[in-house]
Structures are given as structure tokens and as C-alpha cells.
């Protein structure tokens, strides 16, 4: 996966002046902006792999911002969504957060509030992508293990010693030691703690 150089913000608002002004403002902190006038065109066309966030106006002709938000969540889009509204009611705010909005801001929006929200959202997205990436790598390495090595790994993560593993699998401690070294090498783990942190979840989901 090739992460772009700088994060990309998708701005969806039907008002041209608002789009232009907000794009300019967001650009002052070095974020790239792609502005969309049509919610449907945005949903159909935006790059889902890009790192960044989405700024969505609640009140747009044709389709409500809340509906767009729900569609994004249903399609598994992981970019954080910041909602903008002209007259936010408590009810609308509640619905937005329930639907998975990361932030809810009132128009006219203050630059500090918007930019801070965007930077938080971007950081959050980057972290979540990194986690995904690490997970992806770990999964690939895990598939390279032999069945016996996977058994040994499961018992190591359960906290058993080599002796106990040998008894459980009816192997000599020496053989267990060989498997153990092979597991550490294949998975690229530097310590037992590292092994457990990165692979416990995969082992559990793999065995379930």
C-alpha cells in the first residue's frame, strides 16, 4: 500500500463560496483538499485508500449529510467524518455521533476548531491505518508457520514453558526448543512480550 505524501481532506458542501473558502483555510496548514459539490459524486468517486478525513455539510439539496454519513459507514469507509451544520439541534448532534461522526461543528466554523478537529482526525486515521498495516504484515507471517509451529506458538502465548509444551504435545524439550526458535525467526519477534503483543489476537482468532 502506497500512502500519499500528505493527508487528503475531502470537503463536501453544495455552496461554492464555502467550498473555496474552507479549502483555502484548510490548505494554510499544509493539508491537501479535494472539494466535492455533489454528495453522490463524492461517494462514487473519492479515493478510499487515501489517508485523511471527510468534512460533510449536513444541509445539502437532494440528500442529507446524515444519510451520506450512514452510507459511508455502511460501506466500511474508515476516514473520520467531521459534520458541519448551520443550526445544530441536540437531536441532530446525537444522531450524527450515533452514526459514527468523529466531530460535529456549527457553521460559521472557527478556524482553530476546524483545523484542530481535522488534525486530530488525520492523526487518528494514520494510527488506525498503521495498526491495520501491522496487522496485515503479522497475518502474512503467521501463514508461513507450519501446523506444528502454530501449535507451539499457541501454547507459548498461553504461558507454558518448553517442558510443559513438550509434555502437552508429546515432544522432547529439544524439539520444542527448535520449533520455538523457528517461530521467533519466521515471525520476526524480538522478545516474548513482542510476540504476544503482535500475535495473541491472530492466534486466538485463528484457533476460534
Amino acid at each position: 500500500m502506497n500512502a500519499p505524501l500528505s493527508p487528503l481532506i475531502h470537503l463536501v458542501d453544495d455552496d461554492e463560496a464555502v467550498r473555496a473558502a474552507l479549502s483555502l483555510l484548510i490548505g494554510t496548514v499544509g493539508l491537501r483538499v479535494q472539494a466535492w459539490a455533489e454528495p453522490q459524486a463524492f461517494i462514487a468517486g473519492f479515493d478510499r485508500n487515501s489517508i485523511g478525513a471527510i468534512v460533510l455539510d449536513v444541509r445539502m439539496p437532494g440528500v442529507s449529510g446524515l444519510t451520506v454519513l450512514q452510507q459511508l459507514v455502511e460501506q466500511g469507509v474508515d476516514q473520520p467524518v467531521i459534520m458541519l451544520t448551520g443550526h445544530g439541534t441536540v437531536d441532530m448532534c446525537r444522531r450524527a455521533f450515533k452514526s459514527g461522526a468523529a466531530e460535529f461543528l456549527e457553521k460559521p466554523v472557527n478556524d482553530d476548531a476546524l483545523l484542530e478537529a481535522l488534525q486530530n482526525a488525520v492523526r487518528q486515521h494514520v494510527r488506525s491505518r498503521e495498526r491495520q498495516q501491522a496487522n496485515h504484515v503479522a497475518r502474512e507471517r503467521y501463514t508461513q508457520l507450519s501446523p506444528r509451529e502454530r501449535e507451539v506458538l499457541g501454547l507459548i502465548i498461553s504461558g507454558l514453558t518448553n517442558k510443559e509444551i513438550g509434555r502437552a504435545l508429546d515432544l522432547s524439550p529439544r524439539t520444542v526448543e527448535t520449533h520455538r526458535a523457528s517461530v521467533f525467526a519466521k515471525l520476526g519477534a524480538e522478545s516474548l512480550a513482542d510476540l504476544i503483543r503482535r500475535y495473541a489476537a491472530i492466534v486466538e482468532s485463528g484457533e476460534a
Binding site: D15, A17, V18, A20, A21, L22, L24, L25, G27, T28, V29, R59, L84, G86, H87, K107, P108, V109, N110, D111
Partner: protein
Amino acid sequence: MPPCKNAGMLKLIKAHRLGILAWVVLCAVGSAVLGRLELAQTRDAFETDARIVHRLLSQRAVQHDAILATLALLQAGADNARPEQRLPAVYPQILTVRRRDRDAAWDEPRFAAADIQSRTAKRAVLADTDFANGRYWVVLHADTSYAMQIDMRSLVQWSEWPMRVESNPARVTLEAAGQYFVLQAGAPGAKVWRFDFSKHLAADSQPFEVVAVRHVGWAELPWGWMLGWIALVTAVMAGLVAAQGQRVARRRAEELLRFGQVARLNTLGELAAGMAHEVNQPLTAMLANTQAASRLLAESPPDIDTARGAMTQAVQQAQRAAEVVARLRRSVEMPNLASQLRPLDLQAAVRNALYLLEPQLRNCGVDPLMRPAGEISVLADPVAVDQIIHNLLMNAVQALEEVPRAERKLTLTLEADKGQGVLTVRDSGPGIAAEVLPRIFEPFFTTRRGGLGLGLSLCETLATSMHGTLSAANAPEHGAAFTLRLPLARQP
């Protein structure tokens, strides 16, 4: 009846079927009770009459026994005296008296037989009964026996008879051994109900039965009372239906009024939301542009060209916002009231507003005190005046709700002053705070939660556009006073 009318009738009956059922039941039960009462009364009267008749006849029969007994006692000394011959003159019912002297024999076998019977029974007995002719004989055995012939027609002294013989519908007869004698013919008629009375005379010598029969027909039921009852039930139920109809109509009117108020509020809410969006978009763009510009200028070196572009954008957006506001004002601009002014009675307008607000005033426990000043004719627009008075009264009610019930007073004063009709609405509520008073007619200024702050502002605008004024002050004691001044229709 044409079918549609028929259907309408059916619908009417269906809608009121419970009422109609209740009406039928009430009428039927009431009439039945009245009928039963009348029948019971008739029976009581009949039985009383029959008992009196029985007593009168029994007295006569006993009298006959006594007379015979007296004759039997008198016979001893008197040889030639014939006291019995004087009896018919004294007693009208005694036709003739016959005697059998001591040791003599009766010349007629019917007396002889009765004599023997009397001796055995030791009392007088009947010798011969001829009810067809209204006669009978009574015989008493003694040394000298007597026989007495009674005329049944004279048996009764008609002045003592409890009924009017000619017209009373009851039939009264004396009956014995299959014969009967009619004392009172009665009236034949429809035989729906029948009362009977039958009792033996209280004298063994004359074992007759007094039989009275009374027939009652439909015609004798208390139709007048029954019809009266039905009319009463109908009138009461019609009254109830009318009262309910009025209540329903009233409630509907109140609903309509409230609905109108809600609809107006909704319209205002929509307007406000639309306005917020329309103004918010340029404001958002302006804010973003100016803030972006200030950030660009703060960079080193400052990006002056881009900042200038952003400022140009901001200016354009400010102009756009101003246009939105101007368009909004044009679209909700007040119609020119000054051209619609016409004379109207301020007092009638106040009364109308009070009538419309009666439920609210009643709920609040306020009885408005109106100081009338006769007709005050002002030049105004009727709808606008109604709206102003309505608003002032609603405000007063809301103010009064903040003080205890006992202290709630609402006074309306009407007067003509310096060419103006003046209406003052004074409440005994908490009054207007000093810092609020100068701003009270400002649009969107409100002290009420959820209030739009447009009511008084609108009222003042309306009053001004009718060449009048609306002012607010605190009353000397406590509470607020609003004064509406409108030019009089005819200047004095």
C-alpha cells in the same frame, strides 16, 4: 323520501342510537309506571266502593233478622194488635208481612217448609227467592211465625250508595243459587283488565253473595299524563343533545384557535431555520476567508496575493449576506395598513378578544374587569387591532400566572383622550424589570423561555403603521400596564 335523504336519516339514527334507545326506554318505563299507578288507584277505589256496598247490604239483611225477631217477641201479649201490618210503611223494602198464628198452619206450603227449616236452624231462613222480579221471602219460626217479603230494588237507600248508579262502570249484583239480581248495571267496554269482588252478606238468613266486577279498557289509561311524560323526556333529551352540540362546537372553535397559533409558530420556525441557513453560508465563507487570510499574512514570508484573493472573497460574501437579509425583509414586509384603515368600535374589539380568550382566562382564574366608556370608534385595521389586543391579553395572562391566584387581577380601561381612543391593559403580575423596559419592543428580545420575542415588537409595528402608539409602563402599585392609542374616527 328520496334515497339520499333516507340514508341521511339512517346515519342520524346510527349516530344517536344510544340516545334514541334511552329515549324509548325512558318513555316506555315511565308510561308503564304511570299506567300501573292509575290501575292500582282504580282498583283501590273499586274495592272500597265494593266493601261499602257489601256493608250497606249486610246492614239491611241483619235489620231484616232483627225485625223478625222483634215481631216474634211482640206476639205474646198482643191478641188483636197487628204491628206487622205497619212495617211496609216504615221500611220501604218490606212489601208484605204474613203470620201463622200459634197452633195454626201456613196456608202456603213454601212457608210451612221454611218454618220447619227455621225451627231446626233456630234462625230466619229464606222461603222463596224470585230474583227475576227482585223479591224474596224470609221466614222466622216462633210460636207465632212471620214471613216477610223483601223488595230487592228498595233494599238500598240510593242516597247512601257509594257510586253513581247510572254511570259507574262497575257491575254490582246479588247472587244466590244460580240466580242474580242486578243492583248496578255498570258499563260494558273493552275488557283488558278485570277487577273482581265477591263476598257473602253478613247474615246467615240471607245467604247472598255480593258480586262486583269492574272492567278497565285501554281508554281509561292516563293517556294525558303519559303523553306529558313523553313530552318531558323528549324535551330534556333534546336539551341535552343541544347542550352537547354546543360544547362540541365550542371545543372545536378552541382547537381551531390553538391550531392557528401552532401553525403560525411553525411557519415562524421554518422561516427562522431557512434564514439561518441562507445567512450562515456566506458567514461561513467570510469567516473562513478572513481567517485564512490572517494565517497567510502571518507566514514568513507572507503570502500577500493569496490573502488578497481571500479578502476579496470575504467582501463578496458579506454582500451576499446583506442581499439575503434584504430579500427576506422584502418577502415578509408588512402590507400597507394605512390604506386599510376604517372606523371600528374599540370596545367591541376588546369584547371579541375577551370572548376568544375566555378559556385561558378561566384557567388562569382571572375575571377581567372592564371599565367601559360607551362606543369608542377608532380608525384602524380590524385584523391588526384584534392581533394587538390578543397579544396584550396573552401577555397579561402569562404575567399573572407568576403570582398567586388570589392576587391575579386584570383591568381593561377604555377612554377617549385628545383625539385618540385609548385602551389600557393593566395586570397585577410581577411587572416589567427596569432593565427590560427600554428594550421590550425590540424584535427577538424576550424574557420568556421558548419565546421568539416577536409578539410585542409586531404589535408596536402594527400600532405605528395605523398612526397609533403602543407603550409599556409599570403600574404605580405593581404589575404592568400596556397602553394602545389609536386615532378616533371622528375628531371632536
